[in-house]
Symmetry: D2
Subunit: 309 residues, 4 copies
């Protein structure tokens, strides 16, 4: 079960599809094995990048069950929904299947502090107080802005809130403020894993994050950056991170990011295809060539680093 001491890297998993739109189970298994083998401490499925709204409820649950059975590491299931009925159904089914917890993003229509706090109280009640949940803070996409004080209210009023998926932007000061709240005793322990495609992971770790929860196509690098950072190897962490930054930045294009991510995972042999279920977005030939170029530069940097070591 997910607790506030969770750390490391939770990979945000895409949903692998065949070109004809069926779920690709072999790729799913390979992807899950890959995540575990490179050192991910958990996997999140059915997140915003998981094409969840394109799945039938039965399909979604089958995917969850398959991943849980295979993974051997904690699985978090995205259950955000416009209504609490669907949120509750999926959350209960996922937990029954062995999930470690669920993730909930706020509805885009929420505006005031009280509306946001009330929403999460209702969500926590809907899924049940026994289900640990991840609070997703993602204003760039969702348009809902939560201050540190609002996050504190949500965490303190809902014992089942175990983790913050931090992807405010900019968000470095927010991590510092939340950690200060804890030092002052006004906030209980809370795991903070960072999203935003890892674009600020280098400094987020230094500000007090416990790791990353994001889908960058090189989770192996994320694992290593988190390890180096926790070990105090600052320069090494930044060197490794900076070598990937051109690709991280490229992947971090809204609406294109998933296509880049799946393409790289296909290039790396993890997915058989980079297909998205309809309606999906595809990379242009030029964009594919750009990603190829970035991968080639990354490979060269890796060789240089290996020679230097």
């Amino acid at each position: 079960m997910l607790t506030s001491s969770a750390e490391g890297v939770y990979a945000i998993a895409p949903t692998p599809f065949h070109p004809d739109g069926r779920i690709d189970e072999a790729s799913t298994d390979r992807m899950v094995d890959f995540y575990r083998e490179v050192g991910c401490t958990g996997i999140t499925v059915l997140g915003i990048m998981g094409e969840a709204p394109k799945l039938e409820p039965a399909e979604a649950l089958e995917l969850v069950v398959r991943v849980i059975r295979r993974a051997g590491i904690p699985i978090v299931v995205g259950v955000s929904a416009p209504g609490f009925a669907a949120m509750r159904s999926l959350a209960r089914a996922a937990m029954d299947a062995g999930a470690a917890g669920v993730m909930i993003a706020p509805q885009p229509s929420l505006r005031t502090d009280d509306q946001i706090v009330t929403y999460f109280a209702q969500a926590a009640e809907a899924i049940g107080p026994d289900v640990p949940f991840v609070l997703q803070d993602y204003p760039l996409t969702l348009g809902v802005v939560m201050t540190p004080a609002v996050i504190r209210r949500i965490v303190m009023e809902n014992p089942s809130c175990a983790m913050l998926k931090h992807e405010d932007w900019p968000g470095l000061e927010k991590i510092s403020t939340l950690r200060r709240f804890q030092a002052e005793g006004s906030l209980r322990p809370l795991s903070i894993l960072c999203g935003n495609g890892a674009l600020f992971l280098d400094f987020e770790m230094e500000r007090g994050a416990d790791g990353a929860m994001t889908g960058y196509a090189f989770p192996d690098m994320l694992v290593e950056v988190v390890r180096l950072s926790k070990a105090g190897a600052r320069a090494e962490a930044h060197d490794l991170f900076d070598a990937h930054l051109p690709l991280i930045r490229y992947e971090q294009q809204q609406g294109v990011g998933l296509a880049v991510r799946k393409y790289v995972m296909m290039r790396r042999g993890i997915l058989a295809s980079d297909a998205q279920r309809k309606p999906g977005s595809a990379l242009s030939a030029t964009a594919r060539a750009e990603v190829d170029y970035l991968l080639a530069r990354l490979a060269r940097a890796d060789r240089r680093a290996a020679l230097a070591a």
Copy 2:
């Protein structure tokens, strides 16, 4: 099956609940009978006012089936969803159960003309070309603005689009423009039923609307206004409409409207309870007293009109 010649009043039905949150089937039956008996030409279920996101998929479908079996008039089913999988499932199941068509609202994130047009093309493909659909144009709530030209593109590119639920605000010129498009031959026949709680129904009819699709708690009045307006009895239509306008206006408060509507339907003996499933909004004692006052004034106006007749 819903066609572009649909007219009259389609009642937007609330979902009746017991105070404990269960669906109230007896009230559902009574409500359906009431709609038919007062002259509604159709009923729309699972719309924005139908608390649809609080229903489990199975519950939603049961409600649809119950209403269809009872009604004896065409049933439209709201199938708006963040993903096409859920939209398709519900649409197909509803049609299999005997629905006349479905209603689709755009996702709030849509911005450009092309994004909106593409969305409806994908939605129409997802539900299947054999399913007649109602295009819901509701910028006040959804934040998506469709010009008349965009509506024309959607209608012309999707033969299965049978009706516009018109609730742009202001929207009178939009009706005139669409009817002008048809007169010019650039737009095929299209049923236009008006929403927005009927706040502008008097003039919408004069601009060329075919009727109303809204949930005002006196559909009997809507039926009569539509009839009078079509019969050219302008003054009578306005007199009747104006007598209801204070309540129509009161009901047209976002976030409160459904509570007002259910309360009035309870007062009228149609619903056994004005309960909403959690999380719902309730009327304050002051608000109930205000609605009571408006109902008393309305009853007095009715008596005066009867005496004058």
Copy 3:
């Protein structure tokens, strides 16, 4: 100087233009005289309906000076601006010219409670603590949602906040909550004048509002409704209000409202022209005929009421 005991009707004045775009000074004078003579207790210029962004700063100030010299009743000047420099300039100049206070709306980008509170603290500091200001709460147009608690924080932290221009929608419970705060002693005295085109003025008065600040083209009616309501003549207040509701409702169409308002004021002989400075919106011939029809019905209702009295 504006104080928290302000009450009655503050007319939101349009800016009269000649058809060629010049400010129409004769109409301005006539309009100001009209407002005073029908019993308005104040006038607000350069509000959202005042076409303020189309005026050069020098023009705007000239208009303010002209209205102040002529009016003999308190003048509030809208000073909302994307920057505090422009806000401060206009506020100081208006006060130097004899204005009673200024009105400030929040910038649309504000989201969290703290952002809103901070914005008004900065605005109050920018214009100076000696300048009484009206807090405009208008989420429908501005997209900024203020809870009663946020309004209380702004009022309590800024002694120069004298009045709330209340136009949240729905907003009846908000008035009740603010008055309850005062009864409990947690909120100091505050004038509450209501906007939203007066669409809910009948009940707003009963909830505890001190009057109206809006631009409905029959301020004489608003004055009388406020008077009747304060005198406890409930039925008479509603009768009068309801007779105007069809037109109030028609005027309350976003983007069209100003055109309707100017047209009616022209029809009433107050303005020489209903012209807006470019870029403006004009009423279609059909819309003008609709307004004419509503005016004719209103005149008939007035005659009936006179006969009945």
Copy 4:
């Protein structure tokens, strides 16, 4: 005068302030000299990063005049405003003072394609057809989404539109589409300079951009990347760009970016202070240390590159 053949780097200039809030003229002069000496082909003042809303109109114009007199390279003046009166005043005054052109961003309330196109037609008419303008396309901040076809309509309908400030995100395909439009003959020549803090400048140049218009604190690097890219030195361009990417990325935090930029320019000896006029945002001590760390890493990379060369 700005033409569609403009290229290279237009620096988005911050407005230098003394810590007490007065404009720092010595720093302004030094900054202007710096921009010219490192090879910028132009300077843009009073952009979104220029703290323009905090300047009195007279101050803003003085700044414009000072920069124009000193620069010896073309100056573009940001004139975006909620009203056309202020836009026109500043545009005419800036051109009279010798500006090369002006820059206009759309108002955030615009939604449909036609609304956007109409807005720019009105703006172009307001400033006069003799004033060359830059169309700013910045959806991340402004919320207005323009398709390539909408940009084409604006450019083709307004001969005075000389340049696109491209900062859609993602935006690489948009550049390719606009260049394709030109190849097909449906779009006339148009300068495309890229913003977004240069986060994608490496690939934007390869897609057909003419350069950059952004405020990254190392315009010398931008000049060199543009030069290398135009010369076909792809690897060198990326090597140089990638060395700066950690800082570019850090600067690209909304609401913090200007503070980072001014701090780096102070560290580089260009500005005497990194002060913002109130209300401004300041870097925390931790953030300053992070920027210092990035600058130290950048200096080391520069030394390595110099040794390698």
